[in-house]
């Protein structure tokens, strides 16, 4: 099952995604894409680690080239998050560009049982961007659309609650996913 989770800053999208993947079974892998540069990134990493503590995730820290990750076919994978991955591939030394980010995510799709991708709602704060920002936003939007098109479930998380943007019709019957009133805490 492929799931795309989106939401703004502090919307509760990570907690939702973690709970969703926890409900999918074991083994669970957490692909952490954030590069630990600067105090804010490190604080964010610490916060996310404590959020998923005790949820049984095996953490794989990989900021580039997701196609290189070895996964068992029965893996339930949480990729957090798409915008970091894309920024790393586009702007970090050693990055393979937007194409590498896309290739990395698509390669994961075919190699695990469930993949949940967390992305970011960064498209409603303005429309006048230039240069690198514009290029990044366009690529991220394309990737969101590419994943959403293939996904079984697309969820926007709003203040910790779910706004289902798309759900395959028989989805609720064949997984433990409870829409709308899912309790997160």
């Amino acid at each position: 099952m492929l799931t795309l989770v989106t939401g703004g800053a502090g919307s509760g999208k990570s907690a939702f995604a973690e709970n969703l993947v926890t409900g999918q079974g074991s083994p669970r892998f957490y692909i952490a894409t954030m590069e630990p540069y600067g105090p804010e990134s490190r604080a964010r990493i610490v916060r996310h680690r404590s959020l998923r503590e005790g949820k049984g995730f095996i953490t794989i820290e990989k900021s580039l080239s997701l196609a290189d990750i070895d996964l068992p076919p029965e893996a339930h994978v949480l990729l957090e998050d798409l915008s970091n991955l894309l920024a790393n591939e586009m702007f970090s030394p050693g990055g393979g560009g937007a194409a590498a980010a896309e290739e990395g995510v698509l390669s994961l799709c075919g190699r695990c049982k469930d993949l949940t991708v967390v992305t970011n709602e960064v498209f409603s704060g303005g429309a006048d961007y230039e240069g690198e920002t514009d290029r990044f936003l366009r690529h991220l939007a394309l990737m969101n659309r590419l994943i959403a098109q293939r996904a079984d479930l697309v969820v926007e998380v709003v203040c910790g609650l779910t706004n289902i943007l798309y759900s395959r019709t028989n989805l609720i019957a064949d997984c433990s996913f409870t829409p709308r009133y899912m309790q997160l805490h």
Partner: protein
């Protein structure tokens, strides 16, 4: 508590006034809005707890859009988001309003017949 959220100028107050049949004056007594601006100034759990005493709590969604370069603005957005998560968790009803259109995220649709309790201390004030 009824929690109303949605983007800036999306019609959050207009919606709840219409749904519950409230005048502007009544809204001022029943509701508190722009609570996203209160986030980060005190402990989020404590703030959410005290806001829960108000029948209608309204927050503007500020976490969308490109991540700001200013770290203070960045933190304020996140704190506002986390406050909204806490409020939504405590609320009986959560409605998100976009372009004036309400979307029920939790509980039951607010209606005149099921108005929340009017707190006594607020009644004496108005």
């Amino acid at each position: 508590m009824i929690f109303i959220t949605g983007p800036l100028f999306s019609g959050k107050k207009s919606y709840i006034k219409k749904a519950l049949g409230l005048s502007d004056e009544e809204l001022r007594v029943w509701a508190v809005w722009d609570v996203q601006e209160m986030a980060g100034k005190e402990d989020a759990a404590h703030l959410a707890e005290s806001l829960c005493q108000v029948p209608i709590v309204i927050a503007t969604e500020v976490g969308g859009g490109v991540v700001p370069t200013d770290p203070h603005v960045r933190r304020a957005r996140e704190e506002a988001g986390r406050l909204s998560c806490l409020l939504a968790e405590k609320a009986d009803t959560v409605v998100r309003v976009c372009c004036g259109l309400p979307q029920l995220l939790k509980g039951e649709w607010p209606c005149k017949e099921k108005r929340p309790d009017f707190p006594d201390e607020r009644r004496t004030r108005c």
